[in-house]
C-alpha cells in the first residue's frame, strides 16, 4: 500500500502524518510501532533496526491506536494500573493525578464500559502520558474529543516535546501544538 515513504523523527519533534482516508496513515504508524512488518525497507530507532531488539524498542514507545486498548470491565484506575504497570511500577497517586489532569477524576472508579467515547480517548491518553516513553505514536488522537479535550491534548503533547520527547501523529487536521512547529508528512 505504501511506497517510497521515508521519515525521520528526532527528539523534540512533532511529525504530522497527513493524507486522505485509506491512504495508509494507520499502516505507516503500525509499521513504525513494529506491529506490522514492512515488505521492503526498515524502521530504525537510534540507528538500530527495531527488529534487532524489539522489546527494548517497544519499551521506549507509547502507541495509541484506533482501539483505545481499554478493558470494558475494568475501572479507569484499574485500566491504567494494568496497562502502565506492565511497563513500569506505577503508584496510585500518579494514576489519580493523571486522571485529574485529563478530566476523569470523577469517574475514576467507574467501569470503562459506561464511559463515553471521548472519555475513552482521554483515558487512553492518560495511559500514554503515564508510560513516560520518549516516542509517542498517536493514531487520530483527537477523534471524539471535545474542544477542551483537543486543547488539553495539544498542551500535553507540547509538554512531552519540551521534555525532549518525540511524537508522530496521524490526523486529518494539522495538530496545533503550542510553541512548536509541526513537520508534515503527506502520504497522498
Amino acid at each position: 500500500m505504501l511506497h517510497g515513504v521515508s521519515l525521520d523523527v528526532a527528539a523534540g519533534q512533532v511529525v504530522h502524518v497527513a493524507g486522505s482516508n485509506g491512504v495508509g496513515k494507520t499502516t505507516l504508524l503500525r509499521v513504525l510501532a513494529g506491529l506490522l512488518t514492512a515488505e521492503q525497507g526498515s524502521v530504525s530507532w537510534q540507528d538500530r533496526p527495531i527488529t534487532a531488539d524489539f522489546d527494548s524498542y517497544a519499551s521506549t514507545l507509547a502507541y495509541l491506536g484506533h482501539n483505545d486498548g481499554l478493558k470494558a470491565d475494568f475501572s479507569a484506575r484499574e485500566n491504567l494500573s494494568h496497562e502502565v504497570g506492565l511497563r513500569r511500577p506505577v503508584t496510585s497517586d500518579e494514576i489519580d493525578d493523571t486522571l485529574t489532569r485529563v478530566g476523569l477524576a470523577d469517574c475514576r472508579d467507574l467501569p470503562a464500559r459506561v464511559l463515553s467515547a471521548g472519555q475513552h480517548r482521554r483515558l487512553a491518553m492518560a495511559r500514554v502520558m503515564l508510560t513516560s516513553a520518549p516516542l509517542w505514536i498517536l493514531d487520530e488522537p483527537f477523534t471524539n474529543l471535545d474542544h477542551v479535550g483537543v486543547q488539553l491534548l495539544s498542551s500535553v503533547i507540547a509538554e512531552h516535546i519540551d521534555g525532549d520527547g518525540a511524537a508522530v501523529i496521524a490526523a486529518h487536521q494539522p495538530p496545533a501544538i503550542p510553541g512548536h512547529t509541526v513537520n508534515c508528512v503527506n502520504l497522498a
Binding site: 503500525r30 510501532a33 513494529g34 506491529l35 506490522l36 512488518t37 522489546d55 527494548s56 524498542y57 517497544a58 519499551s59 521506549t60 514507545l61 502507541y63 491506536g65 484506533h66 482501539n67 483505545d68 486498548g69 481499554l70 478493558k71 470494558a72 470491565d73 475494568f74 484499574e78 494494568h82 496497562e83 504497570g85 506492565l86 511497563r87 513500569r88 511500577p89 495511559r127
Partner: protein, 226 residues
C-alpha cells in the same frame, strides 16, 4: 525503570482472573456443561453402578475435554477486539512469558473448576474413592495440556470471523494422546491397578506443551496483527 518480568506476569495472571470473575458466566459454562453431560449418561445408558463404573473413566474425560474446549475461544478474542492485545505486544516485556501467565490464568478459570467438581461427578458414576486422586491428577494435567495447546489454536484463529470450528479442528487432534492416556489412567485406577505409567506420560505431555506453546502463541499473536 521497567517492571520486572515476574511482576508483569503476576499482574497479567491476577488481572485476567479478576476479569474472568467479573464475567463469571465464562467460568460457569464449562462446569455446567461438564456436570450436565456426566449426569445425562446414567439416564441414557443404565443406572446400574457396575455398568457405569466400566465407562466412567472415558465419560468423565470426554466430558471434561469438551467442556474445557468451550472456553478456549475466549482466550484472546476480547483482548484482540479491545486493543489491549496490541498494548501487550508493545509492553516491552518478553511476550512468551506473558503468554504463559495468560495460559495459567485461563487454566485457573476454566480447567481448575472442572478438576474440583470431578470427584463429585465421579462418585455419582460409581467410581471408588481410592481412584479419585488419580482422576483429579489426570484431569489437572489433561486440562493444563489442553489450555496450553488451545492457546495456540486460539491465537492462530484470532483474525478469523468464525474461528471456533477451526479451533476445535486444530486442537482436538493434538489433545487425543492426552485423552487416551488420561482415560486409561482413570480406568486402571478404578480397577485397582497402578496408573503411574499413564500419569507420567500425561505429565510429560503437559510439560512439553507448556514449554513449546508460549513460543508458538507469541508468534501467532504477532501475525494476528498483520
Amino acid at each position: 525503570m521497567q517492571t520486572s518480568l515476574t511482576r508483569a506476569m503476576a499482574l497479567i495472571y491476577r488481572d485476567d482472573l479478576v476479569l474472568a470473575f467479573r464475567r463469571w458466566e465464562q467460568i460457569a459454562q464449562p462446569v455446567v456443561f461438564f456436570t450436565m453431560v456426566t449426569t445425562l449418561v446414567p439416564l441414557a445408558l443404565s443406572p446400574e453402578l457396575g455398568a457405569l463404573r466400566e465407562i466412567a473413566g472415558g465419560v468423565l474425560w470426554i466430558a471434561a475435554l469438551l467442556a474445557a474446549l468451550l472456553g478456549l475461544e475466549f482466550m484472546y478474542r476480547a483482548d484482540h477486539a479491545d486493543g489491549t492485545l496490541e498494548q501487550m505486544l508493545l509492553s516491552g516485556q518478553p511476550l512468551a512469558w506473558l503468554v504463559l501467565a495468560k495460559t495459567a490464568a485461563h487454566w485457573t478459570a476454566s480447567g481448575l473448576p472442572l478438576v474440583l467438581v470431578s470427584p463429585l461427578l465421579a462418585i455419582s458414576l460409581g467410581v471408588p474413592s481410592d481412584a479419585l486422586c488419580v482422576l483429579m491428577a489426570s484431569l489437572a494435567l489433561g486440562t493444563g495440556t489442553l489450555s496450553a495447546l488451545g492457546a495456540i489454536g486460539a491465537a492462530l484463529t484470532l483474525g478469523l470471523r468464525r474461528g471456533s470450528v477451526l479451533l476445535s479442528l486444530l486442537v482436538l487432534p493434538l489433545a487425543m494422546p492426552a485423552l487416551i492416556f488420561g482415560a486409561r489412567a482413570v480406568d486402571m485406577a478404578i480397577h485397582g491397578e497402578v496408573a503411574r505409567g499413564s500419569l507420567l506420560l500425561l505429565g510429560a505431555m503437559f510439560v512439553l506443551s507448556l514449554t513449546l506453546s508460549p513460543l508458538a502463541v507469541s508468534a501467532a499473536l504477532r501475525i494476528s496483527q498483520e
